[in-house]
């Protein structure tokens, strides 16, 4: 049997680069970490090129139905690879500064990215499961890779709850298999479409899969691990996992909902809507109560998971389109926000709200960048966050969930308080203590990329709508 490898070339390149970095760490122990960074970035760039080349080969599935070959997958992969590249650059700088850089870190980031991209294109629940495990296991370790206690605590909670959610997901896969006799998304859809009545097993499968994905995208009430893991992980890693996990898990969730469970649309609609409503409310309200910037951003990520879910309640292309745009915008702004935090703080110190007081006096550039990302997170024009929120609300309203859009708008207003309070601190208060932010110019240049993206998408969303529109069709 000939196996065609082009559809998974991006993953192969990523894993290859990861192994090269690991081997380099063993064989050339005194090698410059810059060499590792270069190899990693080359792997990411190669993977991106390989993904772009798949744009024109839109087909059904490849590798015995394990992965989908569609433009949705290409876009999701490119977003993930962009996140990975930014995270690699940030992690290289901040971890070297904190004395925690080892060859394992870029390697694990690459493996996690491979898991994420594979997750985004998987067309079979078994592939989904393995990809989910690859990315989760890498992230557990990255979270605990620092020798600080809070890092260990975060990794432990992440690991335990993650393993728990994996069990839910796997049970859901088993139920889906029991109900339909197949694990391929297309096969499940076929089997379910033929039935007049919905089998109970399929509904159980749907609920269990929803729980499993809920954990991974940190939707409330399955968000318990998020603040601890985000706070404990080295901040550059937090930037990576907050953006990457969400994009990848949502890509897979959209595939499951809009392909495999598409015949059950009437059944999963209310479930997803409920999760969305709870997430936006819980995330927004709890974000206000936080005194630590990383925890605040963690709760904000719970709320943002809810906004993506609001978009996903619209079945078919409009929902996918809106969710994809939201994920792109969210990836840009959350990587940027955590990137700024990683420069203001050092290790576990300097992440509290107080430490950001008077940031404008110390580093106007960082304060300006942070303000931009916060405005975007709050959804204030002219930023990508605003366009993204508008598009998910529109999708929800067009699908008839106007109450959900209303909840979303109210929650946005509540959450805006948290972001604006932080901005007030940065601009209108005197600095406390003697902590100076990281002065290096290179990471600032790196952060200019997501900043430019956030602004550009906010002003000229038409730049990507065409591409996203073409990508909003799932193939199976």
């Amino acid at each position: 049997m000939r196996v065609e490898l082009a559809p998974i070339a991006p993953e192969l390149l990523l894993v290859g680069a990861g192994i090269a970095v690991l081997l380099g760490g063993v064989l050339a122990r005194r090698a410059d970490p810059l060499a590792h960074l270069a190899v990693s970035l080359a792997g990411v760039a190669g993977a991106a090129a390989a993904s772009v080349m798949l744009w024109s080969r839109e087909g059904a599935t490849a590798l015995a139905g394990a992965v989908a070959v569609d433009r949705f997958g290409v876009v999701a992969r490119l977003v993930l690879l962009g996140v990975a590249a930014l995270a690699l650059l940030l992690a290289h700088h901040t971890l070297a500064r904190d004395g925690e850089l080892r060859p394992e870190v870029p390697a694990l980031i690459l493996f996690a990215t491979a898991g994420m991209t594979l997750l985004a294109v998987s067309a079979d629940l078994v592939t989904t499961f393995v990809a989910l495990e690859v990315l989760s296991l890498s992230l557990y370790v990255l979270t605990g890779s620092s020798r600080r206690l809070v890092s260990l605590e975060g990794a432990m909670k992440y690991f335990l709850l993650g393993a728990f959610s994996t069990a839910f997901f796997l049970y859901g896969v088993a139920m889906a298999y029991g109900a339909t006799g197949t694990t391929s998304l297309g096969g499940i859809a076929h089997a379910l479409a033929g039935r007049t009545e919905t089998p109970a097993l399929a509904l159980v499968a749907m609920a269990l899969l929803a729980v499993g994905f809920g954990f991974k995208v940190s939707a409330a009430p399955f968000h318990m691990w998020t603040p601890d893991a985000y706070q404990g992980a080295p901040t550059a890693v937090t930037a990576f996992m907050s953006a990457g996990t969400k994009v990848a898990a949502f890509a897979a969730l959209l595939r499951v909902l809009d392909v495999a469970l598409q015949p059950l649309g009437w059944d999963w609609g209310p479930v997803v809507a409920g999760l969305a409503a709870v997430s936006v409310v819980v995330g927004s309200v709890l974000a206000i109560a936080q005194t630590d910037v990383k925890r605040m951003l963690a709760y904000s990520s719970v709320a943002h998971a809810g906004f993506v879910l609001i978009g996903a309640t619209a079945p078919g292309a409009p929902g996918i389109d809106a969710a994809l745009f939201y994920l792109l915008a969210y990836a840009l702004m959350i990587v940027g926000a955590f990137g700024v935090v990683s420069l203001v703080s050092q290790g576990e110190r300097g992440t509290s709200l107080e430490d950001h007081a008077g940031l404008y006096r110390r580093s106007p550039v960082l304060a300006g960048l942070f303000a931009l990302f916060l405005l975007s997170l709050a959804g204030i024009p002219p930023t990508a966050g605003f366009i993204a929120k508008v598009s998910v609300f529109r999708a929800a309203v067009e699908a008839g969930h106007w109450w959900l859009a209303l909840v979303g708008v109210l929650a946005s207003v509540v959450a805006a308080f948290a972001y604006i309070r932080l901005m007030v601190l940065m601009y209108m208060r005197e600095p406390v203590g003697h902590r100076e932010p990281d002065p290096s110019p290179v990471p600032r240049l790196v952060l200019a990329i997501p900043a430019a993206g956030t602004l550009l998408l906010g002003v000229l969303p038409g730049l990507v709508t065409d591409v996203l529109g073409k990508a909003a069709v799932l193939r199976w």
């Binding site: 894993v15 139905g65 992965v67 925690e100 394992e104 694990l108 594979l118 370790v141 020798r147």
Partner: protein, 192 residues
Amino acid sequence: MSADQVAFLVLAPISVGAGIAMLLQRNAVHAALLLVVNLVTVGIFYLMLAAPFLFAVQIIVYAGAIMVLFLFVIMLLGVDRAEPLEEPIRFQRTAAVLLGVGILAELVTAVRAGVGFRALGPAAFAETGADTAALARALFRSYVLPFEATSVLLIVAAVAAMVLARRRPAPATAEPEGVVDAEEAAPEEVGA
């Protein structure tokens, strides 16, 4: 009565009995051993159901590797004493019983409805049944990508073990700012 049935009637009580005894056992090593008995009998059931490969995997992986590591840890850490039986979480026992009854009810319903008990195997099993070659076809053709992706998972797990085991926990006392752990600053020395 065929030989298979005789074997089943002998082994089934042993299997169930070992499982129950394991739950009631307070000595960790004895419990582990009873679990081994249970695993082996289940493996023999696989053998009788014409799934010899599953038998081999069950014995090699569960009985041979995982349980030996269990025993290894129990022996090394010396945790072979009776555990306190107080519940750290209130209502835990009640909840466990309720959930157990729920799962039992679910299983009984599922079996009575015959759900998922039709011959729904991977396509590769259709021709020859569940023999080892068919399993190989399923693994290396239908599920070749997940199977290969598992190797990445194993690499990550190995790296994970390395990263976590190499940690020297910093003392819990507040360390002065900007001090880099001397041990970390020194280049890592790995034994040959």
